[in-house]
């Protein structure tokens, strides 16, 4: 399966897409929908011909490439704008919470990106459905408004005509309805006109829902893309996690133990011949062993801290931040969580803080760091940020060593969150992660 990288992964939450569509006729009938319909009809009398004209110009000037391209580009931009306006108007008038279909984004940049984006847009179902929606709405609204106008005109003119015909010369041979019947018809026509004005907009809402909604296929496709992206993140973060653990052990604990064994071996050889030197070596070995313990503790801690499962993120962060403090960067932890969050979210957040602090200790040459963790109840999002006043220039680089920030980014993506690093070359650096908590 090809992973479509040119489709933006669905953001964790979209207020519009996730709003529950409100069924029923609430808001479909009333002054606003009627006014909206009449406005469309009035504007359509002129506007109807303009995009259509441009499209016809574009198609008829196909032999001249430049002419066709210019007209086509204008048409695409016009229709994209129109779709945006229609979507917002529909939301304002009917408030049905219609989802926004996903838009495929071009992976290129510059002129190529612009051209490719135009191509993607003009070949998308969303674009043509939007155009069709616009024209159907204009046609229907003009029809309904025109009908209402005709009925009102008849109501005004019918009785007058009937009376005039009755009083005219019989010689002229004019005939029309009897005035009494004309008056009845006039009243019926007025009632019918009002009914059209009141009830016709209900069909507008139906047209909106039909043509502005994303197709089930598009929704599914977006979900599949988001899942593929998350899966990719999970796979690569598991991979980089293994590399990281292996490297941590290989770089810190292993050489320390080798040196320890060597020092003790040396001490044994000097035990009989040179006891003071042997004592000094044993002291050294003791210090080595204690350092190995500290390093090993940090590695094991980084894999899976039990306190995290046991007491949650808030409790687990104390030690990871305390460790940064002892490594010489004055670190403050500012955490405020109303309750325990889902396990996966807690462990990703913990990992973000731990890894960011490790990076700071290794590369940043910082004097101060601040870890802030907040849960936004309204959106159900956990915000994690790690600030340091170091040298900056940190980049999310998935180079040969897919560790550090790239690993973090993958891990956060796997949890459906967003990850960002702001690090100008003069510092300071801020690493932020926003994680959705489906709880």
């Amino acid at each position: 399966m090809a992973v479509a990288t040119d489709v933006l992964p669905a953001p964790p939450r979209e207020p519009i897409a996730n709003a529950v569509p409100r069924r029923g006729t609430r808001g479909r009938i009333g002054v606003v929908p009627t006014a909206s319909m009449l406005t469309t009809a009035a504007i359509a009398t002129v506007w109807f011909w303009i995009p259509l004209g441009i499209l016809i110009v574009a198609l008829s000037s196909i032999p001249s490439v430049i002419g066709f391209l210019i007209a086509a580009v204008i048409f695409v931009y016009l229709m994209r704008g129109v779709e945006w306006v229609e979507r917002h108007r529909s939301e304002a008038v009917f408030g049905m919470g219609i989802g926004v279909p996903p838009r495929r984004m071009s992976p290129y940049s510059g002129f190529q990106g612009w051209a490719h984006q135009l191509w993607l847009d003009s070949t998308s179902a969303r674009f043509w459905k939007g155009a069709a929606h616009h024209y159907l709405r204009m046609l229907y609204d003009m029809l309904a408004a025109g009908l209402a106008l005709a009925l009102v005109a008849f109501a005004f003119l019918g009785p007058a005509a009937a009376t005039a015909v009755r009083r005219s010369d019989a010689e002229a041979g004019l005939s029309f309805l009897p005035p009494a019947l004309a008056w009845v018809f006039a009243v019926v026509a007025v009632v019918a006109a009002v009914a059209v004005l009141v009830f016709a907009p209900a069909l507008d809402a139906v047209i909106d829902r039909w043509l502005l909604s994303p197709s089930p296929t598009a929704v599914l496709r977006r979900q599949v893309d988001a899942l593929a992206d998350a899966r990719q993140g999970a796979v690569s973060s598991a991979q980089s996690e293994r590399y990281r653990i292996e490297r941590d052990l290989h770089d810190s604990v292993q050489p320390r133990l080798v040196s320890l064994a060597m020092t003790i071996g040396l001490a044994r050889t000097k035990l009989d011949t040179d006891p003071p030197a042997a004592a000094a070596l044993i002291d050294e070995a003791h210090a080595d062993a204690k350092s190995a313990l500290v390093e090993l503790r940090n590695v094991v801690r980084g894999i899976a801290p039990t306190i995290l499962a046991d007491r949650g993120l808030d409790a687990a962060l104390s030690s990871v931040v305390g460790r940064a403090e002892t490594s010489g960067v004055a670190t403050t932890l500012d955490v405020d969580l109303p309750r325990r969050l889902p396990d996966e979210v807690e462990s990703v957040a913990y990992f973000v803080v731990a890894e960011a602090l490790t990076n700071i200790a290794k590369h940043a040459a910082a004097t101060q760091a601040v870890v802030t963790v907040r849960f936004d109840e309204a959106t159900g999002l956990l915000h994690v940020s790690v600030f340091d006043d170091g040298r900056g220039g940190a980049v999310i680089d998935a180079g040969d060593t897919a560790t550090g920030l790239a690993g973090l980014a993958a891990r956060v993506r796997a949890a459906g969150g967003s990850f960002d690093v702001s690090s100008p070359s003069t510092g300071p650096t801020i690493v932020t992660a926003v994680l959705p908590c489906a709880s």
């Binding site: 931040v321 305390g322 403050t332 955490v335």
Partner: protein, 214 residues
């Protein structure tokens, strides 16, 4: 002292026993889990229980929970908790139950034999010993940090040593100052935190930590 040990690693249990026996203490029994510890303490009435945190069956915080039960049943029974990692949250839980004779140290500290034996003496004698790492974990948390912003760096160093259960003399020696100036620092800390000065090292630590907890 008569000591019981609850530790699931036989290797470590033997090592700690050896160190304690060398120093003239008597290890009356060792158990590999927390459930038997309570019966053991009930039966043996030791002067000190040395307890590991992660033990069967779940390997999470058995030792902490056992210690809490132990303290509530026999407030006079000292407990020294040893763990591969220390967590301020566990320390707070146990301090909150207002204990005398309580210690919480990293297992690594056992390698510094004299210091470890000192800690055993302090806790067995009803004192409090907290690992420096516990204190630094408490101090990094922002709302506790703000309380400490009014302290000078020197006063913070003193506070750290106090929390480790050090006497005034030991604090003075650790910072290479006279006992008189160490006492001045301590008085100043208590004045700044609005605490009543107290000569007992143990009560003093608890007062400070509890102040930081709030």
């Amino acid at each position: 002292m008569r000591i019981v040990i609850a530790e699931d690693s036989a290797l470590l249990r033997a090592g700690i026993e050896r160190i304690l026996a060398d120093a003239g203490h008597q290890v009356v029994a060792g158990v590999p889990d927390a459930t038997n510890l309570l019966h053991l303490v009930e039966r043996e009435r030791p002067d000190l229980a040395i307890v590991d945190v992660r033990m069967p069956p779940t390997f999470t915080d058995e030792g902490i929970r056992a210690a809490a039960v132990l303290r509530s049943q026999n407030p006079e029974s000292p407990v020294l908790i040893l763990s591969h990692y220390v967590e301020e949250r566990y320390a707070s839980d146990l301090i909150a139950s207002d204990t005398k004779g309580f210690g919480y140290l990293l297992k690594d500290r056992v390698a510094d034999v004299p210091a470890f034996l000192d800690a055993v003496e302090v806790v067995g004698g009803g004192g409090t010993v907290l690992d420096p790492e516990v204190v630094s974990q408490i101090l990094v948390r922002s709302h506790r940090r703000s309380a400490l912003d009014q302290l000078t760096q020197r006063e913070r160093d003193v506070l750290q040593l106090m929390a480790e259960g050090k006497t005034n003399a030991a604090i003075a020696a650790g910072l290479h100052v006279s006992v008189g100036s160490a006492e001045k620092h301590i008085a100043s800390i208590f004045a700044k935190l609005g605490l009543a000065a107290d000569d007992s090292g143990n009560r003093r630590v608890l007062a400070v930590l509890r102040y930081l907890e709030n």
